[in-house]
Amino acid sequence: MNFTITITGFVALYLFMLAAFAGWVIIGHVPAILHTPLMSGSNFVHGIVVVGGISVLIGASTIPEQAIGFAAVLLGAGNVAGGYAVTERMLAMFQPSRPAGEPAKTGAVQPLRAGSSGERT
């Protein structure tokens, strides 16, 4: 068997359509509280470009190609590592009341699932 991947024009359109649809539906239900981490998280995901950079750099056969390929990997790696670092940092901060070890004397505050819109207090 041969595992080379060939994507002709039409199949590419199908892939694009499906991916775009999935992306749209996935994001549709994200609460406002997570908009910033979501932005940096999706930013992280397009860091996959670094894989393209690696493949191009590996196939390089002239100095200019090597230089530009090196730049591609460098930039893509920055995208990946930075995007992950900030997203993970932000998300680790979101804590519910109890596990935070607070005395939980929240008085009149009724805990509510964060981002559950449609409920009114």
């Binding site: 690696i54 519910p96 008085g107």
Partner: protein, 483 residues
Amino acid sequence: MIVNLGHLAIGTVDLLAAFLFMFGLKRMSSPLTAPSGILAAGIGMLAAILVSFLYGLDAGAVAQPFLRMNLALAAGALLLGGGFAWWGGKTVAMTAMPQMVALYNGMGGGAAAAIAAVELFGNKAQTTTGLVVTLLGALIGAISFSGSLIAWAKLDDLLAKPMRVRGQQALNAVVLLLTLGVGGAIIATIGGWPNPYLALEPLIILFFGCALVFGVLLTLPIGGADMPVVISIYNAATGLAVGLQGFVLQNPAMMIAGMVVGAAGLLLTLLMAKAMNRSVSNILFTNFGPAVTQAPGDIKGSLRPTEAADAGIAMRYASSVIIVPGYGLAVAQAQQKLYEFVKLLQGAGVGVKFAIHPVAGRMPGQMDVLLAEAGVPYDMIFQLEDINDAFKDTDVALVIGANDVVNPAARTDKSSPIFGMPILNADQARQVYVVKRGQGKGYAGIVNALFYEDNCNMVYGDAAAVLTKMIEAVRGLGSKAVA
């Protein structure tokens, strides 16, 4: 055989990675599952990067002599770029998040453009479709690169106020058309048409130059406060560019991940614009005109300043307090102090909630992240629609560094630039304290009638300083009071 196994490994791992990206983004729809989501996406990414070194098995005869060198270069670039960015991401202040995201996003766009450059200089496109897609990805990637860098510089205060020239729109249009024209010339030249003016290489360089300039021109005139929306747009654009380059490289994982981000970023942009009650094109193109000048006669009443200590003690003896944080809290970096104060109040039996407006601060969700950083549990944090009815039964509303998001003009004054935006009903609380440094206006540049209401007192000073005084005052009541 070995080559084939390499393809099998790359294909399998990339498939898994594409799934993990989508799965991870899906889990990011709730604070409970989000950390595991980014972890899943991260594992997918790591695996995809590692397995991509197997492309070395593919290297043709021409690239063979360079192979070891290239592999070393790739590893070096990974460590260098990744290391710096990781360090930056781990150490940057939470308030500087928007510009960091802009920077990383620009890097992604630049990487996509660089890949396109290699394809173009090496004339590797097999078909016209491939060539057109390469050029399109190069264009979008380059714009996203230079535009994001400008956004970063602006947010990091490296660039001053919006810079505009007369006829900005026309200039932008000319540069864009020029870029497209050069792109057409590239297609023609590669297609074998006679082109007496320029050889292919200068054309390609010109193409990238024009695209980069266009990204700069597009971003320079936009006000710093609109930057988050712009960053979100560029985020989607980078995703699109990555997806297109994925097609060129016949890499379905890149195609999928890029396109998912493209669509997700677009939707996120629209959600943000909607929360600000503006259209995306309004943000991008019509950010001109002088600030609204308001007749001071509109406002009746007078400002009543009060001491921080008095306000703090009043809250200590209230039974319910809602806190409305805004951009000023981020400026003052006072989130830790604020939570310290809140814990004091809670210890004294006061019920405290936070009320977050969707566009409080300068980035959607910025206040949520800020409070989370200070350790505020997210079930104390309420979004506008969940808490707005509660103000009228609340003793004290503490507005701290916020302005536009509690401006009643949004409800009544049709001429106001924020008219129609939903606002937090802080004015309905029995007593309102507003913490700000002076007479400074909010982002929209308009006077706030709330400050002149009978139930409102002003507490002047930097948010951090004011909170320190409040904490001291409440502590000063003695341990019994703060039992």
